[in-house]
Amino acid sequence: MDTFEPKIVGLFCNWCTYLAADLAGISRMKYSHNLRIVRVMCSGRIHPEFVLWAFRNGADGVLIGGCHPGDCHYIEGNYKNLRRFLLLRKLLEQVGIDPRRVRLEWISASEADKLKQVVNDFAETLRELGPFGTELPEEPVLDIHPKEEAVS
């Protein structure tokens, strides 16, 4: 049986975590291929909708990367992200999604090592969790008629 390979969307801030990912490359570190990075200027830009949208479109995990507390390039965008992240995680947990599928990490531009370790670890966690939705209770497929096309 082939093993499950998760898809991870990385929402990384331009100044810290994205640079850490660049540094990992420059240092030729090898890490799990499951991560796909989308760059934002600051983790404070990240709207909870982005996370939902990622899951909606097939992500198995979302990794948000920002600057360490106190280190934000934009003073405290990372804290704003933290506030949203904590509330979003609570919501996801409430609807039955395993909270380990969203992860927030502070990774500075020099912490390529940490990036590598976090990505590998996250991929491993997600492999154990299985595809997104595995943790949701299975429900009978209902025979609901598809929507009718417009009359006019």
Binding site: L88, V95, P131, G133, V151
Partner: protein, 345 residues
């Protein structure tokens, strides 16, 4: 000639019917221009009467409630065929509404609670309604889908009148717009274009330099609400900033925070996510433990707070649906592989 109009209710509380009655004298005036051809809650028309109309003969059907049962689906499809214009009336029809929250529960759990475990239920064995019903009477119960759907997930919808229930002024304006010579473009939500703050009398009490929130409280937890200060600034999780205006801040005037029944503004993909994002961002703390505490104490039920009216049509619901599909597909694939392996052995 008078324009033919129909009213129908699906899974709803009846408040939307009341909203029509609340039009009072205006309803009488309107009857100069319209003729009601179907209104089960108030008038004695039968389905057959509607079926006899030609397609498109009805000018407009106003349908409230979420679609939860098979008969509701049949009727709304029929009305769609017979109507030029279908208006989703009220929050349930617009976004799924409060009944939509059952979508977060398993169908069986809902039945168990409703027929057996609910605190107000007297247990009488294991009676459960079944779609086939009691054969002797040749009556069949409609099928319960287990999931509530907003109207636009069942049929094409031309307009939306939001609100739980829509206040008379909103209904009245909507009717006038629809009857006018230049009706608004299809798909329009017939209410304000900005968020509730734009018409809230307390908006001007916000300081020009903005504000943050140190703790959230629920209305039931506070003994005193200052009627002259923005409720959000007082820590009440008022969803006014993210909710469409039109109600003239009715709840706020009653000292209750907005719970978002008018739904999101155009361009907002997920009401709950937008509400969550702005409320969380306003938390006045940078300390992880403290933020967590503020959330746990003040917003213990994010789903109920942010998706009270909008869950079935939300991106969040879509996420869950897609997740289940994905997990199911993976399980099936694994089973097939396993079966093949066994076969090969």
């Amino acid at each position: 000639m008078k324009k033919k109009v129909a009213f129908y209710w699906c899974a709803s509380c009846g408040g939307c019917e009341e909203a029509v009655v609340d039009l009072a004298e205006f309803l009488l005036d309107a009857l100069e221009q319209i003729e009601i051809v179907f209104w089960p809650v108030a008038m004695d028309f039968k389905i057959e009467d509607v079926e006899q109309l030609t397609d498109g003969e009805i000018f407009a059907s106003f349908i409230n409630g979420a679609v939860l049962l098979s008969d509701q689906e049949e009727v709304v499809r029929l009305l769609r065929r017979k109507s030029q214009v279908v208006v989703a009336f009220g929050s349930c029809s617009h976004q799924g509404g409060v009944p939509g929250l059952i979508n977060t529960h398993d169908r069986q759990d809902v039945f168990d609670y409703y027929y057996h475990n609910g605190p107000t239920v007297q247990r009488n064995g294991n009676e459960m309604p079944t779609p086939t019903g009691a054969k002797a009477f040749h009556v069949a119960l409609p099928e319960y889908y287990g999931k509530a759907r907003p109207l636009n997930q069942v049929i094409e919808v031309d307009y939306y009148i939001p609100g739980c229930a829509p206040p008379p002024n909103v209904v009245k304006d909507a009717l006038l717009q629809l009857l006018s010579d230049s009706p608004p473009p299809r798909g329009t939500v017939l209410a304000g274009a900005h968020s509730l703050c734009s018409e809230c009398p307390l908006n001007e009490t916000k300081p020009p330099e903005g504000f943050k929130i140190k703790q959230f409280v629920r209305p039931s937890q506070v003994t005193h609400i200052d009627p002259d200060t923005c409720l959000l600034m007082q820590g009440l999780p008022c969803l006014g900033p993210v909710t469409r205006s039109g109600c003239n801040a009715l709840c706020i005037k009653g000292h209750m925070p907005c719970t978002g029944c008018f739904g999101p503004l155009d361009g907002v993909r997920d009401f709950g996510a937008a509400a969550l994002s702005f409320l969380a961002s306003l938390i006045d703390s940078n300390d992880e433990a403290e933020i967590q505490r503020i959330i746990d104490e003040g917003l213990p039920d994010p789903l109920g707070t942010f998706y009270m009216y909008s869950f079935p049509g939300s991106l969040l619901n879509e996420v869950l649906q897609k997740g289940r599909q994905k997990a199911r597909a993976w399980r099936e694939r694994e089973e097939t592989v396993e079966a093949q392996t066994t076969e090969n052995q």
